[in-house]
Structures are given as C-alpha cells and as structure tokens.
Amino acid sequence: MRDGLEPTTTSATLARLALRLYPLAYQRRYGEEMRSLLEDQPPRARTVVDLLRGAARAHLKPGDAPAGVVGPADRVRASASAVLLCWVFFAAAGFGYYKTTENFGTASRLHPLVRDAHLAVQALALIATATVVLGALPLIVKALAQARRDPSLRRTVALALLPVIVFGALTAVVIAIAHANGPNANGSGAGGGMAIAWGIAGLACGTACVLACRAALFATPIAPDRLRVALVAGTTVTGAMVAIAAATAVYAIAINLDASNLAAQSNGPYQLLSVTASLIVTVIVMVAAGALATVAVRRGWRVEGQLAST
C-alpha cells in the first residue's frame, strides 16, 4: 500500500536520511532517541514529511537548539562543510548559466552591460573555485594523513573519492555519446533526457562526496589555525557566491533590455524554458545557496574566538 498510511522500507530509508538534515546539535542530542522512536513506530510517508518540517524549523530557530552539545571546532567543521554543500548546488546553477550563455558572444560584444556582467561572473567563479580548492586542501591533506594511521577513516575517505570517480566516468560516457551523435543532440529526444540524468547524477555525486568529506572532517583532529583558514575560505566563497548571483541577475536584466531576441529563445533540455526563464531559475538557486552559506559562515564566526581554547 502506498497511500502514506502504511509503513514502507522506502519511508524508513527516507526517515533515516531526513534525520541527517537536522542541525548537528539536534543530531547529537536527540539523534539516537529519534532513531529508537523510528524503530518503535515504523515510519510512514507522513513521518518523513514531519521530520523534514522539524529539520527546517530547527534550522530556522537555532535558539531552541540544545546548548553545549557542539563545541567551537565542530561548529566550524559544520560551517565549512555546509558552505561546500551550498557550493555544489551553486556550481550546478553556474554550469546551467554557462550552457545558457555559451553562444552569446555577439551580444557580449555589442552590449557593454551584458559583457561586463558576464566577465564579472567568470572572474568571480574563478576566484571562488580557487578558494574552494585552497581552503579544502589543508583539510584534505590532514584527513589523508590521518587515514594512513587510522584504518576506520580509510573507508570514509574512499567514500568521498568514489562519487568523484563515478561522476568522472559518467561524464566521459556522456561526452562520448554526445560526440557520436553529433552537434545539437542535447536539445531534444534522448540527448535532453541524458542531460537531465547527467545533471541529477552530478548533484547526487556532489552531495554524497560532501557528506563523506564532512564525516572525514569530523573524524580528523585539526588544529585551530587550519579551521580558521577553512572559515576564511568559506567566507570568501560565500561572498563570491553572493556577488556571482548579483552579476547573473544583472546579466539577466541586461540581456532582456538589450538583446530581447536572445532572451526569448528556447533553452535547455527539450527546449523547455526560454533563456530568461533559465536565467531566473539560475539566479533563484544561486541566491538560495548563497543565503544558506551566509547563515553557515555566520554560525562559524560566532564561535571563532573560542577555537584557540579547543
């Protein structure tokens, strides 16, 4: 029965995943009790909805969170990994922006505002990507060194690498198929479906990678200075995300004002959206990711002064 009244294995899996969406303080304080409750009362579809609503409320009202459960070092770890997860979704939107605008070179040459906004997006994307790499590198090196000594961490590190390898292989297959089918294959039919599947797989692999990195980060002892570097990097990336979202919004407005013929063109897999609609969706995802990352870094900075005492 799938009317939401009877417990199902899918509901149980989704409920366990929903528990992981709770803030760290809730997971540590109530996680075990909630898992025990889910075993006593096998979850239904409405249980999953209830947990998702509870997780959202817990994030929106941090004042109700159990106090003294999460130390400053773990708070900064949680902030850094949250920014990384936001970056994955932001990068997906950024890729959508790139695909939407890749053939708009003429418009960029003719209209200065379109050109400047496009240049700003590209420059900021380079800065943000470099900062993600530079901020994550010391933590990755530390986690790998720790994994050499700690066998229990090796599995977590391997789980972080696996989605990257899977997505790399998937991308190679998609590129090979696209080359075999010739140009313009991604606009309709099997090409459109493949593009959507590739995008969903990318987000799934990115999320899985970040969650495994997060687990490795929490299992690795890290000096306060390195955590501070990660927090500064996270703040820079967040600032870049907000600035890119603003530049993309300017681009969307400028292309509508100066090149309305381009703005009205069909775009994306199956030509489902116009260029304007695609850019609006892109900006919404970018703003949401930037806002969530801002909340995460603010929580990190609140405890930054206490890092030295850990």
Binding site: A15, A18, Y26, R29, Y30, E32, E33, M34, R35, S36, L37, L38, D40, Q41, P43, R46, T47, V49, D50, L51, L52, R53, G54, A55, R57, A58, G63, D64, A65, P66, A67
Partner: protein, 106 residues
C-alpha cells in the same frame, strides 16, 4: 469538525500534560498523547517540542535507559502547565456558559 483554535493541540502543551503524571520517554509520550488527545505527534514535532521545552527549563532529561531517555517536568514546567490549563479552563467555562444562556434565550 473544523478547529477554531489549535491551542489545545499545541505539541508543547500536550507533552507537558503527558509528563504531568510522571517521567516518560519519547515513544511513551507519543502513545499517551494519542490516547488522551487523539493527536499523533510525529518524531519531528515531538522532538521539536521537547527541545523547546528543555531550552525553556520546563522539562529535564533523566539518565538514558539504553537508547531511550525519559523526561520529567521541572517545577517551572508544572507551574507553567497549571497556569496554561487554568486559562484554558476559564475559556472553556465561559464559552459553555454563554452557549447555554444563548440556547435558553432561543
């Protein structure tokens, strides 16, 4: 029946009422509330309420029994529950009295 007010169904009030006769863990609270109020508290709602009540000092956690942790009312929690129920009782009494008077007048 369409509810005019959800005050009596407030998860915090239901949890406090459930704990009024002694400590209970999450599952026991859920079963108890379902029995006396006919309301099913999902785990997200239940632990959201427990967290709010705990942060306000109205309930406190007792040492865990295996994976379950019982909760009990604090003195502040008992006082807050009594005050809330008396307010509800006043409203209930007033409402019923007025309906009775109106029915007689008709």
């Amino acid at each position: 029946m369409r509810y005019i007010s959800e005050r009596s169904n407030d998860p915090g009030l239901l949890v406090l009422t459930s704990l009024a006769d002694g400590p209970k863990h999450g599952y026991a609270i859920t079963v108890d509330v379902e029995q006396f109020a006919g309301v099913h508290l999902g785990p997200g709602t239940l632990y959201g309420a427990l967290s709010r009540l705990e942060s306000k000092g109205l309930i406190e956690a007792l040492p865990a029994e295996e994976r379950r942790r019982p909760y009990r009312l604090t003195a502040d929690g008992s006082a807050a529950l009594e005050q809330e129920l008396q307010q509800l009782q006043t409203v209930t009494r007033q409402g019923l009295d007025r309906l009775r008077v109106a029915a007689v007048a008709r």
